[in-house]
């Protein structure tokens, strides 16, 4: 299915969601009374309406059942059945439920307890559900001075009392299990002592952590100490993550539970082949190395659904049936799916290599799919926009049809799939609304979300994404004809099925091609978070997970800082040296700092735990040789007093990356290579996000002292480099030319050494990098990588140049900040900009580029432009009434809806339009028109709009004209030269074939030679021009030939023009 861009589907409008919540309420965990708990993955055991297991299977489809049997997982070997074998499996998902504590494993406990569930797959491909018992939620508070054991037990009782007060209805026997005195230290600020007393508060259920924190935050009265509020530590760590940290489990690693240490569950609650209970202390977590770096044979289900929408409406689950579901199941590491099938409503002609399974009713289709999912038992469910469309649609559709037994798609028996709305927002990606569908035990991986996160594309439709990455496109079946195909015969439904299959196949191809499985699992392993967090959460959780792990080793605890919003203010960002704009025809060497920010943090030992508060600076009286004062004025101790843990994390990450890169060179096996490459990439990204974590003011643990110190060092280094280069590489210093720093970015400096060849520039670049690196504290290092030649520097962060890494041949054309791919620009601008850069940089033909621009502008004004180059597209996100400001595309969509509701763009579609000529003073939004309509009715476009608003656009959100800024460094008076020359003086506008005014127009012939109005006896030429036939003929023909050379697409049009000429000329000649 197509999801975005020219999407045929859009998220159902809000009113459609009003129905589900009522149903959902029944299944929402009841214990989670507090709103704050929504964040946590709480599942309660639910007993479904008494239902016979047998009834769930479709009995009248014996054939189908036998097919299902073929696809089940391999049977368990004897050693598994007899429980004589250790169970080693790769875990994919960890969550927890609240159940009764295990009587045999934990005889001393009673009442409800949190049970961790780990889902995974063994090497043989068996599915595993491991219930881990005995892990308790806890957090810390700092122990007030002078608290003795008696005080602690009193404190315990008071807290227990307050908790009971807050949760009166709860039947939990004991809220606060234990309060222990431990020796820990806060991560914040340099402290002289190695440890301080802390209280570890262990509560019964994870959901109580935040309640307890609330009580302590507000303040609690303790006899003898008075009312006191406590700062909590590590009270905001998700329970599953807490477990992973404490057991050294990282996302996607291998877990072993030795034989004899586990017990098969008495009553199996899941559909997994191996389901067992064990104690958390028995879980062995293997580091992802050697044999344990491999991947288990996961089953990946890629699916897509088709719905028969009504004309002019996007499919809505309460009206429109699901008519087809296509499925592909692939084993991780294999390149061909082992199951290919499509379930259709009504008959469908056979498709080679695909199981076509037809049903008579929609209910059967849905139930067949549920049975299929259960039997095939996929570990990972992928698709395109499944999270926002396919899965919620199926579930809501089943609700509409009243199929209560449908949404049991997870691995837990009798547990329904729930849908809830979520919003995900991060500074990097903006806010995105989505739906969260919890399918227990199965990881969902929506390729659309991954694409939107990882790639900047002009369109995220499956079609264009596939075209981009796979160079493969699909047939686009418009949603308005899906119903027609469905209502046709078996052949038309076959066409639909093929289309549906392709839509299921492409996500799998994308997953393979982009190595998503490897890269994401490696990212999870490096950062230690579950795979599902990677898609649904931002960067900070990854850093937090690493920080917590490291802190645990060091006996440090993280304070739970109240999220104060952006109150803490901002700090000065990275600096850029003044750009000396110009067109440089000598090689420009680029000196880069290798991972600058991580290196700074390591070099200067910047960390939470090395930061000295201004008070302490005075109080502690630290010797000056032991502290660093950063350029931003903050003080940090040096590593001889206290080694920072952020530098340590970074060192490990970078060392691991170095190792991964070295291994990558040696690796032979392509799968191993894929894993290692994914790992080194993950390590690089993680290292770079540490700095961001400290600067995120609304993050988990912001520390602006660190981030502003980092940037201030960065600035200093750039300045330092500039100074050194310009001091050393001078004629006085024995070099041929004076070097000149023309520009410096966050972590790079561009130097013009003045030498004429790339080779010499490279030599000097290397020399400079080595010389300057020597002046920095390790591991800060300046590297020389590339030369730009020629180099067009427009302004800061905007440049273009040819990129050389070896002196023989340039690698590519590199541009930055010159938007050639802005989506709302028409193709004309993009072509113009790329062509000009091509001409200027590669062909070195500046006059040619100028001429090209002039010709294009002239073509535009002379109406010789292909309409497709002028089409502007904008996404329609809301309907017209919801927009406050009238915009061109919304107005057009409204107008088109009035013309024909069936083909009009819907919310979520991208609306293509062109700007047409209209009455004087009409607003731009009134002049937008559908390109097809324009073509059919021969409506004149408005070249002036394109010239002013597209080519030389000056607007608030787009500060510099894309074209002019290229020419500004090269050409004096660029704007005057390009946009106002003689080439703009002749204008041609096509005559509209519609419109009232044309009824009154009288057509008159004018002389081709001199434009004088012709008299009756004259044809084509006036009497004064007679005799110039040959000359004029030549001119017209040759000019059109020229035009056809510029724009091949217009050849046909030109032909037509010549043909018109021909007929005309035949008349005069004969």
């Amino acid at each position: 299915m197509n999801r975005n861009g020219n999407a045929r589907k859009r998220p159902p409008p809000p009113q459609a969601q009003s129905a589900p919540p009522a149903k959902q309420q029944a299944t929402t965990p009841t214990a989670a009374g507090d709103e704050e708990f929504v964040d946590e993955d709480v599942f309660l055991e639910e007993t479904l309406i008494a239902e016979d297991e047998q009834n769930l299977l479709l009995q009248d489809h014996q054939l189908f059942a036998s097919r299902l049997a073929k696809w089940t997982r391999p049977p368990l070997s004897q050693s598994y059945v007899s429980q004589s074998q250790s169970i080693i499996f790769q875990q994919l998902e960890i969550d927890y439920i609240i159940g009764d504590s295990h009587k045999e494993l934990l005889p001393q406990r009673s009442g409800p307890a949190a049970i961790i569930r780990i889902f995974g797959v063994t090497r043989e491909g068996h599915s595993v559900c491991c219930n881990v018992h005995g892990f308790e939620p806890y957090f810390y508070i700092s122990c007030p001075p002078g608290m003795g054991p008696d005080d602690i037990s009193r404190f315990h009782q008071i807290l227990e009392g307050r908790m009971r007060e807050a949760n009166r209805n709860s039947k939990v026997p004991k809220f606060v299990q234990r309060v222990e005195l431990v020796k820990k230290r806060s991560i914040m600020y340099y402290q002289k002592e190695s440890s301080y007393p802390f209280l570890k508060i262990v509560v019964a259920l994870p959901t109580m952590v935040s309640g307890c924190r609330g009580i302590l935050d507000k303040g609690i009265h303790i006899d003898g100490l008075g009312t006191k509020s406590f700062m909590t530590y590590e009270s905001n760590v998700l329970f599953a993550l807490r477990f992973m940290i404490d057991c050294n489990v990282v996302g996607g690693n291998w877990i072993e539970v030795p034989a004899g240490k586990y017990r098969k569950t008495s009553k199996s609650l899941s559909y997994c082949q191996l389901e067992f209970d064990c104690l958390y202390s028995e879980v062995i977590s293997h580091a992802p190395e050697g044999e344990f770096s491999k991947m288990a044979p996961f089953r990946i289900l890629s699916f897509d659904i088709e719905c028969a929408g009504r004309k002019g409406h996007f499919p809505e689950p309460n009206h429109d049936p699901v008519i087809q579901v296509a499925n592909l199941v692939t084993l991780q590491g294999q390149d061909q799916p082992f199951v290919r099938n499509v379930m259709t409503l009504n008959t469908c002609a056979p498709i080679v290599g695909v199981d076509v399974i037809s049903f008579d009713t929609e209910k059967e289709v849905l139930l067949a799919w549920r049975d299929f999912v259960r039997e095939v038992d996929p570990d990972i469910i992928i698709g395109y926009n499944i999270c926002k469309f396919d899965l919620p649609y199926l579930i809501e559709r089943a609700q509409t049809l009243g199929i209560a037994e449908f949404p049991i798609l997870g691995r837990i028996r009798n547990s329904r799939v729930r849908v809830k709305d979520t919003t995900f927002s991060s500074r990097q990606l903006g806010t995105r609304e989505s739906k969260e569908v919890t399918v227990e035990g199965r990881v969902q991986f929506d390729l659309l979300q991954a694409m939107q996160r990882d790639y900047k594309l002009t369109s995220y439709s499956l079609n264009s994404v596939s075209a981009h990455f796979l160079s493969e496109q699909k047939e686009d079946v418009h949603h308005s004809i899906i119903s027609d195909l469905q209502n046709g015969n078996a052949e038309t439904r076959r066409r639909l099925a093929v289309y549906c299959l392709k839509d299921a196949y492409l996500p799998q191809r994308l997953l393979d091609k982009l190595m998503y499985m490897y890269n994401y699992i490696e990212m999870a392993r490096v950062t230690g978070v579950p795979v599902s967090f990677l898609l649904s959460r931002g960067q900070s959780i990854k850093v937090l997970s690493q920080l917590l792990r490291k802190a645990k080793q060091k006996n440090l605890v993280l304070p739970n800082v109240k999220q104060a919003g952006s109150e803490q203010g901002s700090y000065e960002g990275a600096t850029v040296l003044e750009a000396r704009a110009g067109f440089y025809e000598k090689p420009i060497a680029t000196l880069d700092f290798a991972s600058l920010y991580p290196s700074i943090m390591m070099a200067y030992n910047l960390c939470y735990c090395t930061l000295v508060t201004p008070e302490d600076v005075r109080k502690l009286n630290l010797p000056p040789e032991c502290v660093t004062k950063t350029p931003s004025g903050d003080t940090f101790v040096k590593s001889n007093l206290q080694k920072g843990i952020l530098p340590e994390i970074l060192e490990e990450l970078l060392a691991a990356r170095k190792r991964a890169k070295a291994d990558l060179k040696e690796a032979k096996d392509p799968f191993e290579k894929a894993v290692l490459d994914g790992r080194q990439l993950a390590l690089k990204i993680s290292a770079n996000s540490v700095y961001g974590f400290t600067g995120a003011t609304i993050g988990q643990l912001p520390c602006l002292e660190i981030s502003s110190s980092v940037t201030s060092y960065g600035r200093q280094m750039i300045e330092h480099t500039k100074k050194l280069v310009e001091d050393k590489f001078t004629i006085i210093g024995g070099y041929e030319h004076n070097a000149e720093v023309i520009y410096g970015d966050t972590d790079s400096v561009m130097v013009q050494f003045g030498v004429p060849t790339v080779e010499e520039a490279m030599k000097l670049g290397r020399e400079a990098a080595e010389y300057i690196s020597g002046t920095f504290i390790k591991p800060i290092k300046l590297e020389f990588e590339k030369v730009y030649y020629p180099y067009l520097l427009i302004s800061k962060k905007r440049y273009a140049g040819l990129f050389w890494t070896n002196p023989e041949k340039f690698d590519k054309m590199d541009t930055k900040g010159i938007e050639t791919v802005r989506r709302d620009n028409c193709l004309l601008v993009k072509n113009l900009v790329t062509e000009c850069l091509q001409k200027i940089l590669i062909e070195r033909d500046v006059p040619g580029a100028v001429q090209f621009v002039k010709n294009t502008i002239s073509d535009l004004l002379m109406n010789r432009m292909d309409l497709s180059l002028l089409v502007i597209t904008k996404g329609l996100t809301k309907t017209g009434d919801d927009y406050e400001v009238k915009t061109a595309h919304v107005q057009l969509a409204d107008r088109m809806r009035k013309r024909d509701p069936a083909t009009a763009p819907n919310v979520g579609d991208r609306v293509p339009y062109v700007i047409i000529k209209a009455t004087k003073g009409a607003k731009a939004y009134e002049r937008s028109e559908d390109p097809i309509y324009v073509l059919e009715n021969n409506i004149p476009i408005d070249p002036q709009y394109y010239l002013e608003n597209q080519i030389s656009k000056v607007s608030t959100n787009f500060p510099v004209q894309p074209l002019l800024r290229i020419f500004e460094p090269i050409l004096k008076n660029a704007s005057k030269e390009l946009l106002h020359g003689s080439h703009t003086r002749s204008i041609s506008i096509s005559t509209p074939s519609t419109g009232g005014i044309m009824k009154f127009a009288k057509k008159q012939l004018s002389c081709i030679g001199c434009k004088a109005v012709l008299r009756n006896s004259e044809r084509t030429l006036c009497s004064n021009c007679k005799g110039r036939e040959a000359e004029l003929y030549c001119k017209t023909v040759s000019q059109d030939i020229f035009a056809s050379n510029v724009l091949p697409a217009t050849t046909v049009a030109v032909e037509e023009a010549v043909d018109d000429m021909e007929t005309e000329w035949i008349k005069i000649a004969q």
Partner: protein
């Protein structure tokens, strides 16, 4: 002729011949672009050629059934008739211009788009099938050729070709035997008047030779036997550098016209004595797509006044004393050269005759008018002389058909580059060249 009277006693009388134009099929009279699709041409072509091939199949493989592509059954030997489509990896696609980023270096050389991975597909109204096997070489064939294939469908869904049947040379009218006297026809192409390579003196020598102003009596008597001149395209070269897409200054306008004016002066001299046919070529001021319509007579105010001056279409077909001539200005062969492979131009020419199609690559890669009811490029009658202009070098060959057809193939070089014109003797279809050099070698 007056000049001759001065020089010699007896007046040489130029021989005459009867001229009959057969260009009718190449004229575009009432057709115009109204959004037709190109599929119609292929449909017509397939229909015509299939009837023909079906009639040949019983002689070729008497007992093998003929079926459509949809009726193919795995493993069963049969004959299918359809249009070839050559899938080419390097073939440029206009859509790329819109969808792809420009790469810094062009990927293909612009003169040949062949690649070892190219493969052929056969198409008829019912479907298409990929062809395999070594009998049918992708390098020889191009898109648009209609053939009959013997073979069977393999398990992979390909059609394994075992044998190929092309239509072969079309039937030919008997070469008239009665004319037993020497009559010459001169072919010239690529005059490129106005280009840097063109040499006015060289052209003047040619004109003088044809009109009989050159040489002694013997030579003049040969010149008097020249009955016809064919100018096969690219007669002028318009100074492109004047054009930049903007309006021309009136001074430049007349400079643009200079070459045509010059050509007219030359042609007037010839037309006064010999009948001549001028065909448009790719550089001439005419329409671009085939069939190119005659150059407008208003371009030649001087020569157009003679009835010996004929502006013709490209392709051009005519009869001279019942000898049938067919030729083009070279676009069809140039295009074949881009998309297929052969030893020389004559091979390409031979192929087009055997495929019975002048320009199989039209409309796929060669510009062509979207005919809806006919395919004017089908060759129904075998010409006696088949010529192609604007080729790299002179070449000629006598081609014999299976039914006794006899065709003289001529590839005419560019005059402006080689100074060579080709002379054909209609008596025996023998060919020789005329070279004009203007280098002074003392």
């Amino acid at each position: 002729m007056e000049a001759m009277e001065v020089d010699s006693q007896k007046t040489l009388q130029r021989k005459q011949s009867t001229y009959n134009s057969l260009d009718e099929a190449f004229f575009i009279h009432n057709e115009y672009y109204k959004g037709q699709q190109y599929s119609q041409i292929y449909y017509v072509r397939l229909r015509m050629m299939r009837t023909l091939l079906h009639s040949l199949v019983p002689l070729w493989k008497p007992h093998v059934p003929v079926c459509t592509i949809l009726e193919l059954e795995g493993g069963k030997e049969c004959i299918i008739v359809g249009t070839l489509y050559k899938h080419m990896k390097l073939k440029p696609c206009i859509l790329d211009e819109y969808s792809k980023e420009r790469s810094a270096v062009p990927l293909v050389k612009p003169h040949n788009f062949m690649h070892p991975d190219d493969h052929l597909v056969l198409e008829d109204e019912s479907g298409r099938v990929k062809l395999s096997g070594t009998v049918l070489l992708p390098s020889t064939y191009v898109t648009g050729v209609v053939v009959a294939l013997l073979g069977k469908e393999t398990d992979a869904g390909d059609f394994l070709v075992q044998d190929v049947l092309e239509a072969g040379l079309p039937p030919q009218i008997q070469l008239p035997l009665k004319s037993r006297e020497d009559k010459y026809v001169v072919f010239v192409s690529g005059l490129s008047v106005g280009s840097s390579t063109s040499n006015p003196l060289q052209f003047q020598l040619l004109v003088d030779h044809i009109t009989g102003y050159l040489g002694d009596e013997k030579e003049q008597s040969i010149a008097a036997e020249i009955v016809h001149l064919v100018i096969a395209g690219d007669s002028v070269e318009i100074p492109r550098n004047l054009l930049n897409g903007q309006n021309l200054a009136s001074r430049d306008q007349s400079r643009l016209f200079e070459p045509v004016k010059e050509l007219d002066i030359f042609l007037t001299q010839i037309a006064a004595g010999v009948s001549l046919d001028i065909m448009p070529g790719s550089n001439d001021p005419a329409n671009f797509s085939l069939p190119q319509q005659p150059l407008n007579r208003c371009l030649f105010p001087g020569s157009a006044t003679y009835n010996t001056f004929r502006s013709c279409t490209n392709p051009h077909c005519f009869e001279l004393d019942n000898v049938r001539f067919l030729g083009t200005s070279g676009q069809n062969i140039d295009d074949l050269e881009k998309y297929s492979d052969a030893d020389d131009e004559l091979d390409f020419m031979e192929r087009t005759l055997k495929w019975r199609h002048l320009a199989p690559t039209a409309p796929n890669t060669l510009g062509c008018y979207p005919f809806t009811d006919r395919d004017p490029f089908l060759i129904d009658n075998c010409p006696h002389v088949y010529f192609v202009g604007n080729q790299k070098k002179y070449g000629t060959r006598l081609l014999k058909g299976s039914e006794g057809q006899l065709v003289r193939l001529i590839s005419i070089p560019k005059f402006s580059e080689t100074g060579v014109a080709v002379v054909l003797n209609m008596r025996n279809l023998e060919c020789h060249t005329l070279s004009f050099g203007t280098e002074l070698s003392l």
